[in-house]
Symmetry: C2
Subunit: 409 residues, 2 copies
């Protein structure tokens, strides 16, 4: 095992202690104490390896390794925040792998073993998960100009704490100018099971799936669960339940992916019919026609649910993302690397959102996957083997070397 | 308007300020600061009128008016706690009406205008609503020996605060011996709309509706809302939603009342499929056969929902209450009073649970209703007119006088 491999595995163990659970998982929701601790630990790791640590105004954390003063940077990274009771690989693997590769290439370039065109920068995007503060991918949305900084900073968690206050409490909201970047590279666990089942070690992400995301407010009327006649009820929780059940029926009929991850109920008291429910539902598919058909069918179900539960259902927001490609030159560059390494690989689409889905729209981006055991993810028993992590690291070194030499942009 | 009527309406306005909302409603969940404030206010009201205030070990608040030292008491009362964003009448009307009647009869007996056999005691049962601490009717359950004191005291709210700590914080958990009671009287708003629609001012409650109450735990597996294939999901929120939708279908098919008032979801994060959901569902009916049929049909739906959502559904608790009568002598006694007063009345069943549904099992109890405008309840816009409240007060004086003379027990 190479020194880089050894130190990566050791560092990954150390990082996983920050916000670590007994199960081996982690809980580091964005800008909580555990996330702050891990970000601080990571800043120390970077400084110890000669990087300069910067924070931009939305709390994205950058570690720059400067080789040619004034030259643009190649960005590599992912996110260190996690879901509640989550796995230790999602996001964190990509950040530490990117940092390890930057550090190694910086050492080699400084020692004259390697000639690079660009500088190197690892990034830890703030709040990719979107569980404490919505929306997800907040840091990369602000970075790419898709979300207003002020809107993001004013976002509140369920306790009314804003992103601004949470970052300031950690002392990790910055004002620093963002390194000028020429290209972006990210490696991540697949979060699906197809690569493991097909014996593929590396995934070359070609495109994102399309998605329709809805936020609904169901308005009913608070009343007594016993004394109010069924025909007089305006039960917001029933309305929400009908939407959730309908979304699943549509997923099966139209062969799309659907889910409701969050449902808030007021007052959620054992003997009160709910006056209000708010929920997020999404539909996803790699096929635009299927997605449109499912979207249309779901709109009818919304009307039906409102009438059945005798409630009002408002669509507070509705976002549509179409299937979108990553730069084909990036996929080809990565394919050359994986073939040189002789690793089993596949071209693949991503069902999950990643920071690269935002960043790819403003610069060429390469997105790589390593396998997830059984596809288990957003779960403390998420697992990727050391061997797969190290194959990913080798892959990332190869890709980063070429990109930093100017072969992509 | 009599002095008693005038002072009752004034006092009711004063009481409604404690935990009052701008809408005219109140929020005084059990043993919160607002409930504590109101209980303290009520203790002052009682002391000022010559009552002695006692607290038993579960925080039931008693105001005793002693006429014949050593004689048993007639208990009258209801509860001062409320649902979140609730009306000012539910429970509070009955406590203040009972206290006003006790005070008036005590004055009359002390002045030699009236000869009573029993002493008088008003009671404010602790935590009837069951929203902050489950189960509902906690104070009367413990009083009647149906719930262990220690179990009740150890009950936690969602923040982990126990009933014991909440009562101790208010300084309102007592150790005092409970007055020996011969009979119980309670007046309450109907919480349904039938009396208003039929022009009836007084309801004589003959029986409770039957109920089946279930607490379910749905166990799924936490995973990614986007990346996890539909066929691999074990979505606890979907399982819960299917149960809620099924309960409503059964209510319509079998002509019973059903509801889910509370649903807890873990982790309830926008991009995580829920690993667990806990929910309360009940079925209610005045007809035992309909209730049994609905119960059997629902059991099949539970199995179906578990299979459809690919989750495990455990029934954590299942309580069955059959239709149960109030003492017929009490209904007859109250009927004589209402006929003497010449008020329009009806015999009625109660769909809602009340403290009297517990107390009636250990001593003769009389339960009276006054109308609720449109049946609106567990809602800040709950309303009962002054005239109806005062008719109820007259009714209560008549009933209490007879019961305190020993005509019921």
């Amino acid at each position: 095992m190479s020194a880089l491999h050894r130190s990566f595995l050791h560092d990954f163990q150390l990082m996983s202690r920050n916000g670590g659970l007994d199960s081996g998982g982690v809980e580091r929701q964005a800008a909580t104490a555990a996330d702050g601790l891990n970000r601080q630990w990571f800043a120390g790791w970077l400084a110890a390896r000669g990087a300069t640590v910067h924070y931009d105004e939305i709390g994205n954390q950058f570690g720059t390794f400067e080789i040619h003063p004034g030259a643009p940077y190649v960005l590599v990274g992912s996110h260190l925040d996690s879901q509640p009771r989550a796995g230790r690989f999602d996001g964190a693997y990509g950040v530490l792998a990117g940092a390890s590769v930057c550090s190694e290439l910086y050492r080699a370039a400084s020692a004259g073993e390697l000639e690079l065109t660009y500088n190197l920068c690892v990034v830890n995007w703030f709040n990719e998960e979107g569980c404490r503060f919505k929306p997800s991918m907040m840091g990369s949305l602000v970075y790419t100009g898709k979300l207003e900084l002020e809107t993001a900073l004013a976002t509140e968690d369920v306790h009314g704490v804003t992103v601004r206050d949470a970052l300031d409490t950690l002392g990790q909201r910055g004002t620093e100018s963002i390194p000028e970047a020429a290209a972006y590279v990210e490696i991540h666990i697949e979060q699906g099971k197809s690569m493991e089942e097909n014996g593929q070690t590396i995934g070359l992400v070609e495109a994102t799936w399309g998605a329709r995301k809805y936020e609904f407010r169901v308005t009913g009327e608070q009343s007594h669960t016993g004394a109010t006649l069924i025909e007089d009820r305006k039960d917001a929780l029933l309305g929400a339940s009908l939407l959730i059940a309908a979304a699943r029926r549509i997923a099966l009929e139209h062969d799309v992916i659907t889910s409701c991850g969050e449902l808030l109920i007021l007052p959620n008291s054992p003997v009160a019919v709910a006056r209000e429910a708010r929920l997020l539902i999404d539909l996803r598919s790699p096929d635009a026609a299927r997605l449109d058909a499912a979207d249309a069918a779901f709109a009818q179900e919304v009307t039906k649910a409102a009438s059945e539960a005798n409630v009002e259902i408002e669509t507070l927001s509705r976002n549509a993302w179409d299937v979108k490609n990553y730069a084909p030159e990036g996929v080809e560059l990565a394919e050359q690397v994986v073939q040189e390494l002789g690793l089993p690989y596949t071209r693949i689409m991503t069902l999950a959102g990643h920071d690269s889905t935002n960043v790819k729209d403003v610069m060429p981006a390469v997105m790589l996957f390593v396998p997830s055991h059984k596809g288990t993810t957003h779960n403390e028993y998420e697992f990727t083997s050391d061997q797969d992590m190290l194959s990913g690291l080798d892959m990332l070194i190869g890709v980063m070397t070429r990109v930093a030499k100017g072969e992509l942009a």
